[in-house]
């Protein structure tokens, strides 16, 4: 006996109920449960769909789908970092490396200006506000999407929301650091100035990659990661 379309939908709901929120992870588990249920029915054809489903789920052990979710998250983190590095590297090859150098020099000379730390704080603050607005917009889009199709892929959520941990919170930490440390940047020795400027340059690029470049290329990256992405979204 084969599973009907409705029963497959039931299984998707079942995985969601057990904390599997992303479509790519759900799909694999749904296929697994479906295969197992069909196998169970071969042996005991009179068993109800509900019972067969529960019997099958029990085989995942006391932690249910947790191990699977965790492993998938780890795998995707690795992939995200890989993507990040791919775009980050570009800023150190021609022609983009010129922008990197200009950025570095600008920061370096900017720090020499008196009271540069206050200007820095102001810049960070403006950036933070932009980030909060951006996050808010993103959440709304994700939410709308979730409500409509309920097919959000794990990597999609990472690109849109978690961003591998480099969100505005990280910027807030820098804001606090600069604010509380009372460093007078214009009086720093040259080697410290270089280190600070270099770190700031690298961070600027990293933020730019994570917040603008990767989200812009999201669809391309999702198609590359998920062979089923086109199929599911009818692209």
């Amino acid at each position: 006996m084969k599973l009907t379309k409705n029963q497959i939908d039931e299984l998707y709901k079942f995985t969601r109920k057990h904390y599997v929120y992303h479509y790519d992870v759900q799909s694999e588990l749904v296929d697994h449960l479906a295969n197992d249920i069909e196998k169970i029915w071969e042996q005991t054809p009179n068993l109800s769909f509900e019972d067969a489903k529960n019997n099958s789920f029990k085989k995942f052990g006391v932690f249910g789908f947790m191990n699977v979710i965790e492993a998938k998250q780890k795998q995707m983190n690795k992939r995200y970092k890989h993507i990040m590095w791919r775009f980050f590297k570009e800023w150190f090859t021609l022609p983009k490396v010129t922008t990197t150098i200009v950025l570095f020099l600008s920061i370096f000379f900017f720090l020499k200006i008196q009271f540069s730390e206050y200007i820095l704080l102001g810049t960070l603050f403006i950036f933070l506000i932009f980030d909060v607005i951006n996050q808010f917009k993103n959440r709304k889009i994700q939410k709308e999407k979730k409500g409509k199709t309920e097919k959000v892929f794990l990597l999609e959520a990472m690109i849109g929301n978690t961003k591998g941990g480099f969100t505005g919170i990280t910027a807030l930490n820098f804001f606090n650091f600069v604010n509380l440390s009372h460093i007078n940047f214009s009086a720093l020795e040259i080697h410290w100035s270089i280190i600070v400027s270099l770190t700031a340059t690298l961070l600027c690029i990293l933020f730019y990659v994570i917040h603008y470049i990767i989200p812009q290329k999201a669809e391309e990256l999702l198609i590359e990661t998920y062979p089923e992405y086109k199929l599911v979204n009818n692209l």
């Binding site: 084969k2 799909s27 749904v30 296929d31 052990g61 492993a71 780890k74 690795k78 089923e228 199929l231």
Partner: protein, 112 residues
């Protein structure tokens, strides 16, 4: 069913070997195949199989292919080039391990 713990460390090697022989397989198929080959002696649990598969995928040893089968999506795993090489290495390691165990457990009937 014997002590499953003994098999635990070999799960990745088992998966790689199966994929080397069968070209491409999906998760459920792997569990069934192992059960069939070992006549029920080894049953890979679902909670262990998928994390192992995802780990191998993250390490670049496996590639995926998704096919629509009946009314659902099926995710197939197959070896990448690196995966094929790693399979040979892992199988060699396994042979060595079996030999060593043989020496330890049953010195009288050792192969050498």
């Amino acid at each position: 069913m014997s002590n499953q713990k003994l098999y635990k460390g070999s799960l990745q090697t088992i998966i790689l070997k199966l994929l080397a022989t069968n070209h491409k397989m999906y998760g459920y198929e792997i569990t069934q195949k192992v059960k069939e080959l070992t006549k029920g002696e080894l049953q890979i649990t679902e909670g262990a199989l998928y994390p192992a598969l995802h780990k191998l995928e993250a390490d670049g040893l496996l590639d995926i292919e998704v096919v629509k089968v009946e009314n659902r999506l099926r995710k197939y795993y197959k070896l990448t080039e690196i995966g094929t090489k790693e399979t040979t290495d892992k199988l060699e390691e396994m042979q060595q391990f079996l030999k060593t165990m043989q020496h330890l457990v049953n010195p009288k009937f050792s192969l050498e």
